[in-house]
Amino acid sequence: MTAQRETVKPLDGVNVLDFCWVAVGPMTTKYLGEYGATVVRVESVKRPGTLRRAAPFKDGVSGINRSAYFASYNANKMGITVDMRHPRARELMLRMAKWAHLVTENFTPGTMESWGLGFDQLKQENPGIVMFSTSMMGRGGPMEKQPGFGPVLSSLVGLTNLTGWPDRDPVNPYGAYTDFIVPRFAVAAILAGLDRRRRTGEGIHIDMSQLETTLHFSAPVLLDYAVNGREQVRAGNRDPGAAPHGVFPCAGDDRWIALGCFSDAHWEGLQRTISQDGTGWPYNPDFATLLGRKANEDELEQLLSTWTSSWDVGALMETLQSSGVPAGMVNDCRDLFDDAQLRHRGHFQWLDHQEIGPYATDCSEMVLSLSPGSLDTPAPLLGEHNSHVLKDLIGLTDDEYKSLEDEGVLE
């Protein structure tokens, strides 16, 4: 695994045969690509991945290469198109498995085996192969084949039950929330697997249940039930250790400030901002202590909302922060692109895609001082790298390549 670029990246020289699709897998392998791995996505023309068919599309016109959703999660990857049901697909994939250090997939368990590409078969071809499989429920067990998607897994894992107002139905944490929790655990595990391979020469099969992984994002809630028999439920924006604690309206349409007072210092900072002695609003002397504020939280929230609603949200955030009060504007997606800190970090980066044109994708949330990641190439067009990957990387001859093309192994 030697460096091939001027800028050394941690995963330079690591070859990834990537069967991942939808979001959780592609976000995982996007990190690998960002940090130097050569990631080749295996796709199908007959059954193109969900995200290729997902909005937003360039100019609102759908097309297999026009989804910015797909494009964002598949930067720095190459793509080939293979008919996995073709009798010769297996032979080609096994040849690629010899090239690969890592095979990744997030199909329903059993899918890779049905193609003759289970871990045992890959290992015969390449004893050092690391295989990463992630599925909703993990391999084995009565529900291993339960199909599903991240948007519903947040319910299954109990996070939906913890989100929303106590007087209303629970709501879903935005989007396919668990899909974006799992990848960091996944990358850590994959790199630990590759490390073991480096030390021992042995391949390994990592099996990750997205349910089991995501439960670590609410583990104390599970312990509370296991130990105390308590079932925690949604509490809106309140927090047992703070008051006020919530989201309050600001001037304009759907503008909000989030703030929380966990200490006297926070509370005094808020009071100082309102006025030196809190008299800028109908002040209740009971508010002087946390317990007093908790006991009168409805009234406190109402008064505070009246005060915040005349503020510009950005000015209020800066003012409160300068008084030592934890406060932040509720950023919408336009705000994110203007957010001074995210801009400072270079969170969004634009790549130029052949059919979409310039599009935004997000960089990783870590800056490595010596070997930083970078996103350099846009997501592949469907089948864009068939020739390059199979001839230049795998070493197929022109004749071999042509026969795969002619027989429809390559789509």
Binding site: M1, K58, A68, A192, Y225, I257
Partner: protein, 421 residues
């Protein structure tokens, strides 16, 4: 560099992690510990602030009974150390000399103020990987901002998209902001480690929790970038594109279920549900006539959703959660329960995979079911797991300061009296 006293041989068994984080980064070390690293949580004398976070065992708010601590410190060892004293820093440098990773989540500039910069620590151990986890990163306009969970979830863009559309945005009631940063810290540590194995050199890594949250937004940023539209929160619905949204949470007879009607590659699920509704005697002819197979992901219009809402809602309300879940499993329908902690405790799949792991707390006379490892091996090799109950405050002081660092009993006594450990 370290031998794990338990003889565990998981993926990261050869490596030692010094974990200076509090609740703002505690998950990073937990992930590495579950993968087998020897993670030493370094607490200030008196204990980590993470021990003040409830709930508590028996609702007794003591530092040894914090369930937050239990959840994220299991598998770790604990020593105490006061970094603000010279002796504490000298000990820290001795520990760094033998460590592979250092994780920390102090406010930017705090360690620098104590002279514990990466530059200084790398002079002691050039292979050290140091990871800092902070709300916004080490520098930039917000780097000194005060952040709590709700502030971070707001600035990361998550809250605007979550909650009922006629009320304020909501957070997830169990704090998530620092968990995202903590998980990213583990990823970051392993990336830098991988580089160290090639280049023979450690490095410093700066993780931003705000960015980690902003990476949970799926295609919402692209919808602004490409369409100039701002996605809004949709309560029990899920916005799929432009004006289009689908209902995802549905009341049933005895709780809630989660079902998202979709076409395209998962049209089979919609067809199967319509089939089941037909078995119940509901008229689904109009709905079955729709070309689900050719429908793209965000293509369900408000009109179509309105047409679907009545019959689907009636169907769900006529069945219990258990009936709907089992029936969907039998028919390959993408429907899930809105789970409660009780349902998770007895979950058949988690039980079959042996997910929950019992750890003894002999001091309290209890055995507790913990969430287990987040990976298994598909081929029977032990690669990760839960094997050690969360440490008491400074439980491993003697083991580490005496047996590993080589301090004498008298020196340890002095440090204890001096409030260093």
């Amino acid at each position: 560099m370290s031998g794990d006293p338990t003889g565990i041989d998981f993926l990261l068994a050869p490596y030692r992690v010094l974990d200076l984080t509090d609740e703002r980064g505690i998950l990073a070390g937990k992930i590495l510990a579950d993968l087998g690293a020897d993670v030493i949580q370094i607490e200030p004398p008196g204990g980590s602030p993470a021990r003040n976070i409830g709930p508590f065992h028996g609702d007794d708010p003591l530092p040894e009974k914090s369930l937050f601590w239990w959840a994220y410190a299991a598998n770790k060892r604990s020593i105490t150390l006061d970094l603000e004293q010279k002796d504490g820093r000298a000990l820290m440098e001795k520990l760094v000399a033998e460590a592979d990773f250092l994780l920390e989540s102090f406010s930017p500039g705090y360690l620098e103020g104590l002279g514990l910069t990466y530059k200084r620590l790398a002079e002691i151990n050039p292979k050290l990987v140091m990871v800092s986890i902070t709300p916004f990163g080490q520098d930039g306009p917000y780097s000194n901002y005060q952040a709590t969970d709700i502030v971070g979830m707001a600035l990361g863009g998550f809250m605007y998209l979550t909650g009922d559309d006629d009320r304020a945005p909501v957070r997830i009631s169990f704090p998530q902001f620092y968990l995202h940063g903590g998980a990213a810290g583990a990823t970051a540590a392993m990336l830098a480690h991988t580089h160290r194995m090639i280049a023979g050199q450690g490095q410093y890594v700066d993780v931003s929790c705000q960015q980690a949250v902003a990476k949970t937004l799926a295609h919402a940023p692209q919808i602004w970038d490409i369409e100039g539209a701002i996605l809004k929160r949709q309560g029990v619905y899920r916005q799929t594109s432009g004006e289009n949204r689908v209902r995802i949470n549905w009341p049933c007879k005895d709780g809630y279920v989660n079902y998202m009607v979709q076409g395209g590659t998962v049209a089979y699920s919609t067809r199967a549900l319509l089939g089941w509704m037909g078995e119940d005697g509901l008229d689904t002819a109009d709905l079955n006539a729709i070309d689900w197979e050719e429908m793209g992901y965000g293509a369900i219009t408000p009109e179509l959703m309105a047409q679907l809402g009545g019959p689907l809602g009636d169907f769900f309300k006529g069945h219990t959660r258990a009936e709907l879940v089992q029936g969907s499993l039998d028919r390959r329908i993408l429907l899930f329960p809105v789970a409660t902690p009780a349902a998770l405790q007895g979950h058949p799949q988690l039980e079959a995979r042996g997910y929950f792991k019992e750890l003894d707390h002999p001091e309290l006379g209890v055995a507790v079911q913990y969430p287990g490892a987040f990976i298994k091996s598909g081929d029977g090799v032990d690669i990760a797991g839960l094997y050690r109950r969360p440490p008491l405050i400074g439980e491993h002081n003697l083991e580490i300061y005496q047996e590993e660092i080589g301090l004498s009993r008298a020196e340890i006594e002095s440090l204890k009296r001096g409030g260093v450990i």
